[in-house]
């Protein structure tokens, strides 16, 4: 009786079930939010990089180990494509051409960009914004249009350049018939398009250099020239490295300009005077259906060369500063 009389201690009324569930769910969502949403935020990059960057690269590597016919059979042959690459005259020819045009475009281009950036950085210059925008305009023009217009300028018979040269008594030059002349013509297109872009990046780098350094130098009696060598250039090093690596990547992948200069012929000149690595890759991998595997090997070779050249640049630029 007494036992039955003792009532249970008053416990707090149990919350209605739906509220409890909601609270539990709320805390779960909270936890999930904390743990996983950062991954979700960065996922788009990795997803897109995976689909458009990583997957094609791995797939190309896989293809390069095969005798791969684009519309037919695929046979695994290991590293044979790479071995063949080493004794392929036309591959080395394309490599030399690519480096030739790379040197003819990158070196004058960066020197000119450095010069222009210094000018644009001067305080006495009026209408700065106008000049800064004007210098970038060539970069906005489509590559194909640039290549077609320059292709006409460098024509043998009715080209403007040959006409100008004839005024100073130089004989007609067949620009497409020699290595040096075709490289010059193609490098001119590249320089025209990219000098302004590099100028702006270098200019941005220059403006990030603290002004008090220059003031201090001036007080110490350093002239303009000395300030440029001992403040601007060393402080510009990281920017310069960035610009050099970008130019390297662009230079190694040079394709549209030489292709259109050759009137669309993938071998780039009657004797492959200006066939670049990228064109050779296209010839083997896409134009020629049955050698897609070999083309993939060329693509990987280009990738390796870019990595190598960028590393060399990196070391050189870093060492020169020490």
């Amino acid at each position: 009786m007494s036992l039955s009389a003792t009532t249970a201690p008053p416990s707090p009324a149990p919350p209605p079930p739906d509220v409890a569930a909601r609270r539990r769910r709320g805390s779960l969502l909270n936890r999930l939010d904390l743990k996983y949403s950062p991954y979700l935020y960065i996922a788009p990059f990795f997803l897109i990089f995976g689909i458009f960057g990583l997957y094609p690269m791995l797939r190309t590597a896989w293809m390069s180990l095969h005798d791969w016919d684009m519309v037919g059979d695929h046979t695994f042959i290991g590293l044979d494509n790479y071995i063949e690459l080493f004794s392929d005259d036309y591959f080395w020819n394309a490599l030399v051409n690519t480096f030739g045009m790379f040197a003819l475009s990158t070196i004058p281009q960066l020197l000119l960009a450095l010069f222009l950036a210094t000018l644009l950085n001067r305080t006495f210059l009026r209408a700065k914004t106008f000049f800064r925008m004007a210098i970038f305009v060539p970069n906005v023009v489509s590559v194909a249009a640039v290549a077609i217009v320059f292709g006409m300028l460098f024509q043998r018979e009715f080209g403007l350049i040959n006409w100008l040269l004839s005024l100073v008594g130089v004989d007609q030059i067949d620009w497409r018939a020699h290595s040096w002349s075709s490289w010059t013509a193609i490098a001119t297109m590249v320089n025209w398009r990219w000098t302004g872009y590099n100028t702006l990046i270098l200019l941005a780098g220059m403006q990030a250099i603290p002004k008090d350094l220059y003031e201090a130098a001036e007080i110490d009696g350093a002239g303009q020239w000395r300030q440029f060598w001992q403040i601007t250039l060393p402080m510009l090093r990281p920017t310069f490295l960035f610009v050099v690596i970008l130019s390297t990547i662009g230079g190694m992948q040079l394709f549209t300009e030489p292709l259109l200069f050759a009137n669309g012929s993938i071998i780039g000149g009657n004797q492959r005077e200006y066939q670049t690595l990228a064109m050779y890759m296209y010839e083997k991998g896409i134009y020629n259906l049955s050698t897609a595997g070999y083309g993939a090997a060329v693509a990987w070779a280009i990738f390796m060369i870019i990595v190598l050249v960028s590393l060399i640049n990196f070391i050189l630029v870093r060492r020169s500063a020490k």
Binding site: L32, K35, Y36, L47, I51, D69, M70, V71, G72, Y90, G151, M152, Q155, R156, E157, F158, D174, A177, H178, N263, G264, S265, I266, I267, G269, N270, Q271, E283, I286, Y287, N288, L289, S290, T291
Partner: protein
Amino acid sequence: MSLTTRRARMAATALAAVLVAGGLAACGNDDDKPAEGEKPAKLVVDTFGEMGYDELVKEYEKQTGIKVELRKTAQLGEYRPKLVRYLATGKGAADVTALEEGILNEFKANPRNWADLTPLVSDHSTEYLPWKWELGKAPDGRLIGLPTDVGSLAVCYRKDLFSAAGLPTERDQVSALWPDWNGFHQTGQKYKQATGKAFIDSITAVSNGVLFQQGSDLFYDKENNIIADSSPAVKAAWETATSMVDISAKASTWSPEWSGGFKQGTFAATFCPSWMLGIVADNSGEANKGKWDVAAVPGGSGNWGGSWLAVPEQSKYPKEAAKLAEFLTNANSQVEAFKLKGPLPTNLEALKNEAFLNYTNEYFSNAPTGKIFGESVANIKPVHLGPKHQAVKENAFEPAMRAFENGQASKDKAWEQFTKDAQTQGAF
């Protein structure tokens, strides 16, 4: 459920979701062929350049109630990579696909990409130029292409420039100047003596003409071995073409020098397959209308280009597609296409058609182009083109010839370059 396993499961689920999404995107096409005899709602036709099918497909729609979508690509250079992509990925190809000579030969190496048309259409083997019909067959015997047009060759020449050099201008008299290539060369030399200017655009244009008159194996023998260095036809084309370097303007076909040359009059004659007439007219401009005329080609005939219609194996309606291809290549359609855009018929009946034979071209001084090209067609000799004929010709034969023409290499060195490159370009 512990936290770690729950997290692991979450991660697994997320990964699975991503994979499934990716997988769905990748395997979007399941090749469920429709039931036998089911009528398609729509057929797609892929063509390049101008094949003149615009009106014909509308007529077919009316006749059959099947909608036909005509997808045109202007340049062959853009058309080929698209086609390769369709075949390599197994989807996207049209039901009826136009294949140009070079493409067809190359794709013959993998005939299983194409439906065998023999059981799908009635037997037309005797209705077309026999050699053209044979070229539509793959090595394993399956019929992969129905003949459309042929690039029968003629010579386009400038009457005003001829008359300035004291040469006859009437097209029959002009044709009579060059019964053979020797006569053509001598005419060119006369022209050059009188005017000091070049006579033809380039020697590669000559080689094209000579090559297809030989009626034998060109770069490959019948077993598809590369015989570039020993083939008599190739040697003949090489010798004839290189001998004409003295009358050449050194303007290779499609280069800016070449297209600019038409307006400037840097050359007085060029080789014209029928499809080239429109290009000559465009390059020369309205100002030169009526100055051009068309004469016979030295040696009587020649062939440059031409196409077939094929049905990709991946088409869901091979039977209906084959019927459409059959319709587009029949005699009546070929005449209609010629009248609209100029591709030259290969159907024997179409070649005898009154409307075709009476057709005259206004831009070219009202030359009876139907008759001129039609006569040339009848004389075309069948040649054997190997799988990489186009690549050998474009990337080995012609560059070597141009290197000689431009003085970059001696004749022997250029020939050496060609035979070396022919091996790599011709491998398959």
